[in-house]
Symmetry: C2
Subunit: 336 residues, 2 copies
């Protein structure tokens, strides 16, 4: 495929892409052509969602021709979806789409009103008596309540899995895991927060999740309010939140999925969790992830304590291509 | 205020901003400083929401330090809110926030599943028996179902007006007015559309709005299904849709607000509308808008036919600063 950018007065134009061996450093030179349109042709990378940008005289530039943009933290990046088996659930479902909504909940623990992202499956509005299980899906450091919807393609993955009959219809709740932030991309939020940096408040967000968000969802959405209808999953920092929530509230979630997790658990904590009962413990990590050793250690503890679990090891590192793969995989195992 | 951009190898760096006399051509030169950080200091423009970008060796570059980005059609632009009386309702409300959701409706008329943006006011979830009036709010050419939420600040304006007791709690429905588009920023939507370009289908979208979207909303949301609880407003092309809907379905909406409208009505059509009954006809346009003469003509027809109305004339042209002002103004007059 060919990338093009019109740049009349540029001296050097390059292409940077997340498919390159070093996504944070590699670039390919582009060539000036007619009418100062710079271009470069590349071999189509393997099926996946990638991001890319141009570099014009040393400055990152987005593609004015591409309306598909993903936000990763503070960076807006043009997106490229290469079709194939790996990505077949990442585009829009054929005809059945769930609803993405952005309600706010009042957090007494964190001292502010905060925004959530909630996915309700196709048919939710039309079936006013039906109740659904809920997956709580947590982002990593640098992310927020829009990360799983944007980079993670959660709505598309769930729409496709449910449409194909591969996953149970479920509600997915994506909170904001930064205790000092009310919501992504907002102006003039009041600053009357608790001191969440104090050591005694280190689990304030996990407490708000389990004691405020779960009840808010079960009051305001048609959620089945039982452990066997609650799943928790999270990536990186959110994997740590997942492990912490499972330890502090062992009765709350029957499905626990730490992904590329920044977190650990002691043998005693896993023993207590086993006693509380777990229907699925799905641990996932890439084999070149800088957190892989931690996942291996947790796998070992789970094995030693006899807690039946899946250790899903993929290629690659601490990247969204893995987190989309993990969601697409474990979502098929929930609530069954 | 000072704008800054690090650009190590650039030759010329400029600033472009929507507050400049000619927003599409004017730029200000920036100066290279220490560590190749280019900067320029400007006098703070008058209170309003602006967009801006850098121009590096002739190429538009966004501000990597600004996470507040608005999308206008295919362009993503960093946003600048200058505080003041004019903008006091454009930032987040103090504590009461409505919910923005993105449900899909099935359009038999347009032959596809299509996405809407829906705002429900604070308290909607907590008051499961309360019903609300509905404003249908339509975008212009080049826009889509995200335009009013992004550029228009609809959620913030309604949150603030309702929190201050200046507007009735209401649902706001923002459809996608492009009959060939299922939704903004989506991949691989099926292409089994009707031929909406055919002359006999010229009002297909307005028909879908009145015959499909209104019933969808009144079935799936707690909406008051009466003309006195329905308002329609739209800007530019959406102002034309507003006028067309009021003519084709004179019984449907009691509140009609064409904004900088691309559309017209005959004396006979206005006479029929008057007969059907209208509680508010709010016509708005900027005095330098290229469509101002059309609004003056419509004002004249409304006066001649004795249809009581407001002709709200603002400074300026065909721009979002005016459409935010109009929404902030007419929303206070609805359903009272």
């Amino acid at each position: 495929m060919t990338f093009r950018l019109k740049a009349d007065y540029a001296t050097v134009v390059k292409l940077s892409g997340s498919w390159m061996p070093n996504p944070y450093g590699d670039t390919i030179d582009m060539t000036r052509g007619e009418n100062n349109v710079w271009s470069v042709k590349i071999a189509l990378p393997s099926p996946e969602i990638y991001t890319y940008n141009f570099v014009v005289d040393g400055v990152a530039v987005n593609d004015p021709q591409n309306v598909l943009v993903q936000r990763d933290g503070t960076r807006y990046l043009p997106m490229l979806l290469v079709p194939g088996e790996r990505t077949e659930n990442y585009g829009e479902a054929v005809s059945r789409h769930g609803t993405v909504s952005h309600p706010w909940y009042d957090s007494k623990i964190l001292g502010m009103s905060r925004r959530l992202t909630v996915y309700t499956p196709y048919g939710y509005e039309a079936s006013p008596k039906k109740k659904y299980p809920v997956l709580y899906l947590l982002h990593g450091a640098g992310g927020d309540e829009e990360a799983w919807i944007s980079m993670g393609r959660t709505a598309q993955i769930l729409d496709n899995l449910i449409e194909k009959g591969l996953a149970e219809p479920m509600i997915v709740v994506m909170p904001n895991g930064n205790p000092g932030q009310a919501a992504a991309r907002t102006l003039n939020i009041p600053e009357k927060q608790m001191n969440w940096r104090a050591p005694e408040n280190q689990n304030a967000y996990v407490r708000s999740l389990c004691e405020e968000i779960v009840p808010f969802i079960e009051k305001n959405f048609r959620a089945i309010a039982k452990p066997e209808a609650r799943a928790i999953a999270g990536l990186s920092m959110g994997g740590g939140h997942t492990i912490t929530a499972s330890i502090l509230y062992p009765q709350l979630f029957d499905y626990i999925c730490p992904l590329s997790a920044a977190g650990s658990a002691t043998p005693e904590q896993i023993a207590a969790l086993k006693k509380a009962g777990v229907k699925l413990y799905f641990l996932a990590c890439g084999d070149t992830d800088f957190l892989f050793e931690g996942s291996q250690a947790l796998d070992k503890t789970l094995t030693e304590q006899g807690l039946d679990h899946i250790f899903f090891v993929s290629d690659g590192g601490h990247v969204w291509s893995n987190w989309r793969l993990y969601l697409n995989t474990f979502a098929q195992k929930l609530f069954k």
